[in-house]
């Protein structure tokens, strides 16, 4: 299991290679690569800045990967998430899961990605044509689901 939160870019091919290399139990590898788009909810986006909570971010990703391992056949897993200044077309995140079976690989990969997108301690600040803005948490469903975490 490899978990990294870093400013530097990463090499998808090398990471995927490293994950499956030479292990004849690995029949399936599912990977997801997220990158910065030039639009978000209608507004044009230039640069953005990703902030995280050093320590907690890595720890919480580790916990979610362990949860994925307990639910699906996960032989190995790599999660790399960038922070700092990023611009459109820059890679943000890689999640790659090696498994014996394709259903497990897809499910675990999507599960970890969903966590990263909705629960992991990352905050996004976008620079649009109207200036900088911290992105607001979107869905009210999501807020409902997280209500137990709320400090009133």
């Amino acid at each position: 299991m490899k978990i990294s939160v870093q400013r530097e870019d990463f090499d998808c091919g090398a990471e995927i290679e490293a994950l499956a290399r030479g292990n004849p139990r690995v029949g399936a590898l599912a990977a997801f690569v997220g990158s910065v788009r030039d639009v978000n909810e209608g507004a044009e986006v230039g640069r953005m800045t990703l902030e995280h909570y050093p320590g907690m971010t890595e720890k919480s990703i580790g916990a979610i990967v362990e949860q994925a391992r307990s639910r699906w056949d996960v032989i190995d897993c790599t999660v790399i998430h960038r922070v700092g200044e990023l611009q459109p077309t820059d890679r943000i995140v890689l999640v790659a899961v090696a498994s014996g079976h394709r259903g497990d690989a897809f499910a675990a990969c999507e599960f970890v990605m969903d966590y990263l997108k909705t629960r992991a301690p990352f905050w996004k600040k976008e620079r649009t044509s109207e200036g900088e803005r911290w992105v607001e948490a979107r869905s009210s469903d999501d807020e409902a689901a997280e209500r137990w975490q709320e400090v009133k």
Partner: protein, 85 residues
């Protein structure tokens, strides 16, 4: 007791502080009480940590409810709802 405070994202910017060491009065023993305690520091704190505002809290790097008990040496973080990568 002495604890470590951290602030992230828009909250960090509003308060103009990323973190500090703090000596907590004995009567402030939960995450919720700490939030109320910090509001008394002035208008910026009052606004940033206002009751109606969605503020998340982590205690020792795990999400924590207002009722969570703080102990000496703990790390308490305040931040807005996360917005993903």
């Amino acid at each position: 007791m002495r604890i470590k405070l951290l602030f992230f994202a828009s909250l960090r910017e509003q308060l103009g502080i990323a973190g500090e060491e703090l000596d907590l009065p004995a009567e402030v023993s939960t995450v919720g009480a700490l939030r109320a305690h910090l509001r008394q520091r002035g208008p910026a704190w009052q606004a940033a940590l206002a009751e109606g505002r969605l503020v998340r809290t982590a205690l020792n790097q795990s999400m924590a409810a207002p009722s969570a008990t703080i102990a000496a040496g703990d790390e308490v973080a305040f931040f807005p709802p996360v917005t993903g990568g």
